[in-house]
């Protein structure tokens, strides 16, 4: 079920109505949450519910076994089982075809002759997210950071919790799991702020992301028909599309969780205001970047190793992160670009800050602005690989952006009518202003200072704007980009 679908618009109020009745009885509430989560997920394809249930059983059992095991070796063995099962499922469903394809290509490259073939595998929605979530549970128990839960219902609900099941944020057991063991007391302020956040997320997804997607899809799906200027417009649009799409999903997930008394971690903090790629990853998909930091980068040695090894670790983490996003070379290149730039930044950061920068505020701001500009350009260039359908398209678009500045005579050929194009620009500008205000003052604080009647008008305008300016896609609903990962 998609958050921006009619199905969810019917499902969620019904869910809330029942939740209002059952929320004070812990077991009943969790049972209802679990059932609702399975309905939410099964709405897409009920067969894959067995996969979530299987994954939950394995991790619940292994968590207990890791905790109970007397020896380190035994603990390790149980952890290994958990890792193998979870990563095995992920490898099969997500990467099998990629690995087969890569093997055949390499074999043929070395002179062999193998015909290409692909397994008929459907990628279960959200498998990358819940797999990482359950993995972190087993690893944290192994590291003795948490104790396993005895409550099977709580654990199953933690794995399948519908607001964040299919596209995160990827929660840690230490933060989310205990919340299933606490009775929820209705809090109007949390409910309101959650609803507002969810509403804003829906606006970002339906009004901004899906509108920008029209132009992006037109250009990226037919790159041969366009020039460098068009690629540049489409790439900047994609930068905002994916931001609004994914942060919109996270906002809805966090918002509706808050409405029912659950706190999820923040996943975005105005990433496009970053002045370095390092900072960008502290602001973009925070739940994933911290996951990689805690479960890949640090086990590899983190920054406690020699500089060359540390640079390698950093680079490797981003390549793996690219692969996590998708089983294609383009995603690996995208990760590699980020990894490479972060390594360069790490190397440069060791040099002392020039005195002029410390003394002159104007110079400080100019340099800051330049850093922001360079960071945004790098992020956009990397997005080309993320969005392009093939490697050939990636190179064509990158070359076009860097060398050819021609633009179509009519913007209408980019897939958006002129009025829609103008609206898209206005929406991007409004989004940037909003992010700036939010970053500097906090949107909720600003809202609190606004008279309540004006606030009511603003909320109503946002809801009605979604109706009027929303893009409903094919079959009146369009998927979130991050569902495919």
């Amino acid at each position: 079920m998609l958050f921006n679908s009619i199905d969810f618009a019917i499902f969620f109020p019904l869910f809330l109505a029942v939740y209002a009745i059952v929320h004070k009885k812990l077991t009943l509430r969790n049972a209802f949450l679990l059932a609702s989560s399975y309905v939410f997920y099964g709405w897409w394809d009920w067969r894959f519910l067995f996969l979530i249930i299987f994954s939950s059983i394995v991790d619940f059992t292994m968590g207990r076994q890791i905790f109970k095991a007397k020896t380190k070796a035994l603990k390790k063995s149980f952890l290994l089982i958990s890792l193998l099962v979870n990563l095995g499922l992920l490898a099969y469903f997500k990467y099998a075809n990629f690995f087969i394809d890569s093997f055949i290509n390499s074999f043929n490259f070395l002179g062999g002759q193998l015909d290409s073939f692909a397994l008929n595998i459907i990628l279960p929605v959200g498998i990358s997210f819940y797999t990482f979530q359950t993995l972190s549970y087993s690893i944290d128990i192994y590291r003795q950071k948490i104790e396993p839960t005895k409550n099977v219902l709580s654990f199953f609900t933690f794995v399948a919790f519908f607001p964040q099941l299919v596209a995160g944020p990827i929660e840690r057991a230490a933060h989310l799991l205990p919340q299933f063991d606490k009775i929820y007391h209705f809090d109007y302020k949390s409910f309101r702020s959650g609803a507002l956040l969810a509403l804003f997320g829906l606006f970002k997804k339906m009004v901004i992301a899906d509108r920008l997607a029209i132009l992006v899809n037109q250009v990226y799906n037919n790159p041969a028909d366009y020039g460098g200027g068009d690629y540049a417009i489409a790439t900047v649009f994609f930068a905002f599309q994916i931001y609004c799409d994914f942060s919109g999903y996270s906002d809805i997930a966090i918002g509706i969780s808050r409405m029912i008394g659950f706190d999820l971690m923040k996943n975005f903090k105005s990433p496009y205001f970053s002045k370095s790629i390092t900072e960008f990853w502290r602001r973009w998909h925070i739940s994933l970047s911290t996951w990689f930091r805690d479960y890949v980068y640090i086990p590899l040695g983190g920054s406690r190793v020699s500089p060359p090894r540390m640079y390698f670790n950093l680079f490797a983490v981003f390549v793996i992160s690219g692969l996590w996003h998708g089983a294609a070379v383009t995603f690996i290149i995208w990760g590699a670009i980020h990894g490479l730039v972060i390594v360069i930044e790490k190397r440069l950061s060791k040099k002392a800050t020039p005195a002029l920068l410390k003394e002159s505020k104007a110079v400080y701001h100019i340099v800051g602005f330049a850093k922001w500009g360079i960071t945004f350009v790098i992020v956009c260039l990397a997005w080309i690989f993320f969005r392009a359908n093939t490697m050939a398209d990636s190179f064509l678009i990158t070359k076009g952006v860097l060398t050819d500045f021609s633009i179509q005579e009519s913007l209408a050929t980019l897939g958006l009518a002129l009025t829609e194009f103008k609206l898209s620009i206005v929406l991007i500008v409004l989004l940037v202003i909003f992010d700036w205000i939010h970053r500097r003052y906090g949107a909720l604080k600003v809202l609190k200072k606004t008279p309540w009647v004006l606030r009511s008008v603003l909320y109503a305008v946002i809801i009605l704007s979604i109706f009027v300016f929303g893009i409903y896609g094919n079959d009146n609903v369009s998927e979130f980009i991050y569902f495919q990962f």
Binding site: I6, Y188, L423, W452, S456, A460, V461, F467, V468
Partner: protein
């Protein structure tokens, strides 16, 4: 604290609902039926309507309620809407019955109004559904019957349905009506009379059609239980609300010869329910339509509508006893409209052809030119021929100049006299060479010395294109 919170929530909901209702108005579909239903609502505020005409475009193009009122001294309204399926009749009728108490309901049935709805036709029926209350059970039943659950929101909310028009809708003048091209169409009380007539290609295709004898056909499966159920529903309504039902089939060129069985079946079923059925497609001999009285293969034009309405008037007169409303203020107020219509379209002489085909410019050939005289105007109908239609459409204007005989210069228009010209003139853009151009030419000239036709650019004047054609002397034998 609780009261404050309650008030805040209520105020928020009030703002939200008010905003939504406003947007529903802003994004309300603008179409012919909205105009028709607005006119209907205006009329029922003034008077009760005795005769309700319902059906598809066949109905609103064929039966002119103004003429019916004049002939039968009734008050009638044509609430026909494009592609209306018979299955939606009672939905619309139930809405109508809440506003007025008709004595006679005339329902048009045809080959096109009986089958299941296609996707395109589903869209057309949103017009009827928009007119019904969102809280109506009958509406929900129809929505449930014909639409997918995912379409419900689009059916019930016009903002949701039409939101993509956000850049073109009028956010201020939310009650604005759809603009009707009065030059091409005459519209009154739901009736729409086209001033064009069938084009040359269709004239060729259907030249023998009017003398064709209808045959039995392969449409046996069309009439089914769903239609019988509608008849039952209509019967119940007619008994409850005390009105009579007459089914009619209007003339059309395309399908009448294939529908013999269907017409017989409608006739049998109507009779079994005690309803009458008038099939005007089988009465071509009596009504004597000409091809020039059709706008296309399915619909009559304004002049065809005059004939069809007069025929129906006679039928009503013979078979029904309707109250005489001629003394009511509403009927009296229509007198001016009767007169305007008569003078404009009815009492004119018959159309005369004034010239054979001649070439005007490039390959643009004026194949036929007919002229009729009405009270203070000449009505020209012109058929062109051009193989370059795609490139020439809307590029040129067709100009007609009417010269008075010597001694009758005082009949020239004031404007002509003012600029010192010796002829009255009028021009129209030729938008489609496949359609008959109808040019209404207001003039007081009765003694015509010659007519002149030419082509000019549709833009800044650059002189006559090609050669002007003049018709005078022996060639101009007009009896206007």
């Amino acid at each position: 604290m609780k009261a404050t919170l309650g008030i805040r929530v209520l105020v928020f909901l009030a703002i939200l609902i008010a905003g939504f209702l406003y947007l529903e108005k802003v994004f309300a579909s603008k179409n012919d039926f909205v105009t028709t239903s607005q006119q209907f609502d205006k009329v029922v505020k003034e008077t009760n309507i005795d005769v309700i005409l319902m059906g598809s475009s066949h109905m609103y193009a064929s039966i002119n309620p103004l003429l019916l009122d004049k002939n039968n001294k009734t008050i009638s309204f044509n609430i026909g809407t494009a592609t209306m399926n018979f299955d939606f009749t009672t939905l619309l009728l139930e809405k109508v019955l809440k506003k007025t108490k008709p004595k006679l309901v005339i329902i048009e049935l045809s080959r096109g109004s009986l089958p299941q709805l296609s996707e395109r036709e589903k869209g057309f029926h949103l017009r009827l559904l928009d007119y019904s209350s969102d809280f109506s059970r009958a509406k929900f039943q129809k929505v449930n019957q014909y639409f997918e659950p995912k379409e419900y929101l689009g059916v019930y909310s016009q903002v949701y349905r039409n939101h993509e028009d956000w850049a073109t809708v009028d956010y201020i003048d939310i009650e604005s009506e759809k603009t009707i091209n009065a030059v091409r169409r005459y519209k009154f009380k739901g009736y729409t009379g086209a001033r064009d007539s069938i084009g040359p290609e269709l004239r060729k295709k259907f030249k023998d059609q009017l003398s064709f004898t209808p045959k039995s056909d392969s449409t046996k499966a069309i009439f089914n239980q769903m239609h019988i159920d509608q008849f039952k529903h209509l019967k119940a309504l007619s008994e409850k609300h005390n009105f009579e039902v007459l089914f009619i089939t209007t003339p059309d060129l395309q399908s009448w010869r294939y529908n013999g069985y269907l017409y017989t079946r409608i006739s049998e079923v109507s009779e079994s329910f005690g309803f009458k059925y008038l099939n005007m497609s089988n009465t071509q001999d009596k009504i004597r339509f000409s091809l020039g009285e059709f706008i296309d293969e399915y619909h009559l034009n304004l002049w065809g509508g005059v004939k069809a309405t007069n025929y129906l008037s006679e039928y009503i007169d013979q078979n029904y006893s309707l109250p005489d409303r001629s003394s009511t203020p509403y009927w009296q107020n229509q007198r001016e409209a009767f007169q305007d219509f008569d003078e404009g379209f009815v009492t004119g002489g018959s159309e005369q052809e004034v010239m054979p085909g001649q070439n005007l410019y490039l390959d643009i050939k004026l194949n036929r030119l007919g002229v009729k005289k009405y009270a203070d105007k000449l009505l020209f109908t012109a058929d062109f021929d051009s193989i370059l239609t795609d490139t020439l459409n809307a590029k040129y204007r067709f100009v007609i100049q009417v010269f008075p005989k010597k001694g009758f210069e005082d009949q020239l228009s004031a404007r002509t006299k003012e600029i010192g010209r010796s002829f009255d003139t009028r021009s129209v853009v030729i938008e489609d060479y496949n359609k008959t151009q109808v040019i209404s030419f207001p003039t007081r000239i009765e003694a015509i010395e010659r007519l002149r036709f030419l082509i000019i650019d549709n833009g800044p004047y650059t002189g006559t294109k090609g050669k002007a054609i003049e018709v005078k002397g022996e060639a101009l034998k007009l009896d206007l």
